[in-house]
Subunit: 334 residues, 2 copies
DNA sequence: GTGAAAGCGCTAACAA
DNA sequence: TTGTTAGCGCTTTCAC
């Protein structure tokens, strides 16, 4: 594989000249430029970006860490990030943690050692701390989806409180007062804030929450399945159910189908996250849409902004959530 | 940011020794080792893998090029690839082409210049050639999903012929003889081979294909939508429909719903690719499952195999497709 | 057991 | 307008 030296030798110029015609970083006369380009073509020269990165201290690589790309929410986040950054010549390194803290640590270290120019992190650590806080604080970082309270960084989150509030408000406006909720782990800001929105909405309408209808899941399909069954099978089930993420919604819908529950006749359902299949269900699913693509896209832009301009103050960007009313929510039977 | 020299100086050893304790690549006495590690810890040293890559000529990076990660099929492929390679310390660079040849070219060049150790390519070029054939032939490459006939490389494909054959055979076994098919572009091996499987199955059962029921789409949702409408609205519509990829299936299902067509009463449906929502539909969707996760996983392993062992002969791996019978296919009305 | 130093393939300051 | 060369941060050969 030819190097810049081979090109220089064969074209009778210096490596500096070759470098400059490749990067258009200083004037080179027409004839020389032509000759260099011809030799590059002839030898099939491919500049070595590793060497280049070592010198310029930039890799044009962005790392993105999510729990699982198979979750369409994260798929969209990653796609948004890719679109935002690839337009500027950046590549994205995809890292799936499967909610495994060890994997997250491993990946952060790897991205740091590979000198990624930026990292978008949807952490799987619950709580306000992160074991790699020290290094993260020095990195070009944007935290996404889940907040790490003690970490100073740019951030992009969904409006979890608002989204959950809208879901509950919608059900209340339909006449429901017996409302079940499957929430997520309170260790995640997303879980905590969604529950907060739920409680706020209930409180604003003088409905006191019923513990039996409000179990906490782990954001995974299986727990949506199990908890939905539990809620339905309790002596006095609610007339409406809000499920606070798309995996658990999937599980809950499976449970309802198995139990032969009719939606929305027997129970109204509102899910969190719109998906490509929401509209295909019978009835189509009412959801809170969180705009994951936009979240990723904005995260990418914030990262680029920081890489280019070196802003000082950190910014947090809250992406609005909106209610999409479809057939799975209707007034209660009574 | 400290370098290996800083560590060496502070620990009173040579850079060679530091390097060797980091990589465990030659014996270092206990005391020295301890001291070096202490200094590394103290300064928060993070080895620079860019510099390392330049020397060892390995980046531990795999590039994967697909048309769109938002398509759950590719999501699964990428996830499988990531699992296979990350276990060996590799990172994956995600590249979405949106079926845009220019983007594909750009990404291949970029991956080559960044010296990715391997590339998994699901091309968007139709036909037997690839404009970057020369460079691809020298790269560590595995072609996936879509074949590039003239390219010599390892390969992983679905059994498109067999999958489509099973779909049609299933419908025939239910009693259908009026079978519609929405195929994909014949420029893609996936489109061509699926149609081949369809025709073979029809032929094996002495059914002559009806052109009016067998339009060719472009693998995108919109074309599934339009073509399904067209098929349903023709004077003499079929009693069963096979849709040859998941995007077009999504579109076709939307069209049927709009037209108020009952599945499987009015028409039986078989889709290609299982999805997380197939089972939630009413009725659940009968599909041909292609094991995209396995495809990605195997592609990753083949890449690693080639990186480690430098095999000489190329291998092509055909992943079997299987029929998953669910409620959307049933005997015809008559 | 350990160290000195060449070199991986580039960029860019400095010189001409 | 172009060339020389130091150095980016590592690995590894060769010497001791």
């Amino acid at each position: 594989m030819p190097t810049i030296k081979d090109i220089a030798r064969k074209a009778n110029v210096s490596t500096a000249t070759v470098s400059h015609v490749i990067n258009e970083t200083r004037f080179v006369s027409k004839p020389l430029k032509r000759k260099v380009k011809a030799v590059i073509e002839e030898l099939g020269y491919q500049p070595n970006r590793i060497a280049r990165s070592l010198v310029i201290q930039k890799t044009h690589t962005i790392g993105v860490i999510v729990s699982d790309i198979l979750n369409p929410f994260y798929t969209a986040v990653v796609r948004g990030l890719e679109d935002a950054t690839s337009a500027f010549g950046y590549n994205v390194m995809l890292c799936n943690t499967d909610e495994d803290p060890d994997k997250e640590i491993k990946y952060i270290r790897l991205l740091l050692e590979k000198r990624a120019d930026g990292i978008a992190l949807a952490t799987c650590f619950q709580g306000n701390e992160h074991p790699l806080m020290g290094q993260l604080n020095q990195a070009t970082l944007v935290t996404i989806v889940r907040r790490i309270a003690r970490l100073k960084s740019d951030a992009v989150f969904a409006d979890n409180v608002g989204g959950a509030y809208k879901a509950i408000e919608h059900l209340i406006s339909l006449g429901h007062r017996r409302i079940g909720v499957i929430s997520g782990p309170s260790g995640f800001s997303s879980g905590r804030e969604r529950l907060e929105g739920v409680l706020k909405a209930l409180n604003d309408h003088d409905i006191s929450p019923n513990e039996a209808w409000m179990p906490t899941g782990d954001f995974k399909q299986e727990s949506g399945y199990l908890l939905a069954k539990k809620i339905i099978q309790c002596k006095n089930p609610p007339s409406a159910l809000f499920v606070s993420n798309n995996r658990m919604t999937l599980g809950a819908l499976k449970a309802l189908r198995e139990l032969g529950i009719q939606i929305p006749k027997d129970i109204s359902i509102v899910g969190l996250d719109d998906t490509e299949w929401s509209i295909l269900l019978n009835p189509p699913l009412t959801v809170i849409h969180q705009s994951p693509y936009d979240m990723g896209n904005i995260a990418g832009k914030m990262l680029l902004g920081r890489i280019f301009k070196k802003r000082k103050r950190f910014k947090t960007n809250i992406i609005p959530a909106k209610l999409i009313e479809r057939g799975s929510s209707a007034p209660p039977r009574e």
